[in-house]
Symmetry: C2
Subunit: 115 residues, 2 copies
Amino acid sequence: MAVPLYQAKAEFFRTLGHPVRIRVLELLQDGPRPVRELLAAIEVEPSNLSQQLAVLRRTQLVTATREGNTVVYALSTPDVAELLRAARRILTEMISDQESLLAELREPDRQAHRA
Amino acid sequence: MAVPLYQAKAEFFRTLGHPVRIRVLELLQDGPRPVRELLAAIEVEPSNLSQQLAVLRRTQLVTATREGNTVVYALSTPDVAELLRAARRILTEMISDQESLLAELREPDRQAHRA
DNA sequence: TATGAATGTGAAGAATTCTTCAACTTGCAA
DNA sequence: TTGCAAGTTGAAGAATTCTTCACATTCATA
């Protein structure tokens, strides 16, 4: 409640800041998935995955529904998928920027193309 | 180089996952700022701010330029600002969703409005 | 109802990240 | 030069987060 917005934001990003959690969210972008499938795709111990899923549940990024013997996870809102797409786009750009910078440093003045 | 993309992403988000760093990035959204101003706005010890700025520099999110006696920081690409805007939008939505859910739980069945 | 498969949980040590302190640079100006 | 203001840095203890282990739940079915 009294949590300042910038702190809420920081917490939100920290939640995204774990490889397993990122992969889970990305898998869920294509629709709900049972734990079993996540487990098959992610290569991590079951209890570890459970811990990470618990984090995602606590922060409301995903929802879990029991269906008989299995538990199905889903993104709690499509906004999450949107943010991930934005992040991917930006990361890709940043990385390719770095790469072309590197390339330029390696072979300097080869058909220079600056702004 | 051999770092899997999902790990790069996780690192990226972790970098954003700190209140001081978030505030710095938000202040820089409106243009370059000398450390002095950041310090005035953020309320944190100089050495702590420096540490966080160092993190942002290492991950290439910002650039620093010395101008005589002061050091001026800037976002290294407008993409960062874009991501922050996306995040703000999403967070705001998620929070308001939670709030209306809460409201509904508090006064149930008062003019129900579901999909 | 006894079993087993699918998941989840609390706890503890390992690993990371934060904060703070003291000391160090850089540039300017007395 | 000397001194001071503006920032930065390395190091270390504090705090947080991860991973893993042992054990618990929940369902379905034999």
